[in-house]
């Protein structure tokens, strides 16, 4: 179960990725997972940025993802280094997946 604080962190990340154009949605665990994948791809694209260290050898659980997303949200609040091209490409790739996740799918 996600806390209100964790949901707020996920919301900060989504709003950043979509420049505020994302429709209203329910923030749930699946949405958090999609947000996590989006940040992973943004990291790959904006090569050299120290965003999220992916754990090796296991699939990250919600607890790990929530901690990492909190740190990312903090960085986004205080400035970021994601290239615009990376951000728009990631937002495009995941926009429908994110909306469907918000619908519980």
């Amino acid at each position: 179960m996600m806390t209100d604080s964790q949901k707020q962190d996920v919301k900060v990340i989504i709003e950043f990725m979509f420049d505020g154009h994302m429709p209203q949605m329910e923030i749930n665990e699946r949405v958090a997972e999609v947000a996590w994948e989006m940040m992973q791809q943004a990291k790959t694209c904006s090569n050299g940025m120290d965003f999220v260290p992916r754990p090796t050898g296991f699939k990250p659980g919600l607890a790990y993802i929530a901690i990492q997303l909190t740190q990312i949200a903090l960085r986004l609040r205080t400035g970021n280094g994601i290239y615009i091209s990376c951000k728009s490409a990631v937002a495009y790739k995941w926009s429908h997946e994110l909306q469907l996740a918000g619908m519980g799918m």
Binding site: F18, D19, H21, V34, E37, Q41, A42, T44, C45, N47, Y83, I84, S85, C86, S88, A89, V90, A91, Y92, K93, W94, S95, H96, E97, Q99, L100, M103, M105
Partner: protein
């Protein structure tokens, strides 16, 4: 089955799913940089490499570089195929690792330079995607 304002998702009992969406290249969620058409964007994204020289004076260098850079997200380690049958051009990225779709396709109609269809499939065998693409009838 689920629908969004611009998309339709069909989810099968075996876990496979197919997303069909219409994207406006000028829309707020478009990956197309301002000032160029979606067709130009797709041509650079899928047909050019970082080693190419920008052949299009109209396309400013920074836009060219932005698009080339976004290949890391849009294509990654995927295999790109281009299918062409006037007036349709289909770009397909096929990958075993790329998220969220193992086959991610963009389809243009020559008569609409700024609109394109996207078809994304998950857990659908590539051979079946081949058959679906082969069955498309142009009207």
């Amino acid at each position: 089955m689920a629908s969004l304002p611009d998309a339709l998702l069909v989810k099968y009992a075996d876990g496979a799913s197919v997303l069909v969406a219409l994207t406006n290249g000028r829309g707020s969620l478009s990956p197309v940089p301002p000032g160029i058409s979606a067709r130009e964007w797709a041509d650079v994204l899928f047909s050019r490499t970082p080693n190419d020289i920008n052949p299009n004076a109209v396309l400013a260098n920074n836009k060219w570089e932005e698009i080339i850079q976004s290949k890391a997200v849009m294509i990654g380690d995927g295999l790109v195929s281009v299918y062409r049958q006037t007036p349709i051009t289909l770009y397909r990225v096929r990958s075993e690792t790329l998220q969220p779709y193992s086959d991610d396709m963009i389809i243009f109609d020559d008569r609409k330079a700024d609109e394109f269809f996207r078809i994304g499939t998950k857990n659908l065998p590539h051979a079946l995607v081949d058959k679906i693409l082969a069955s498309i009838k142009i009207k």
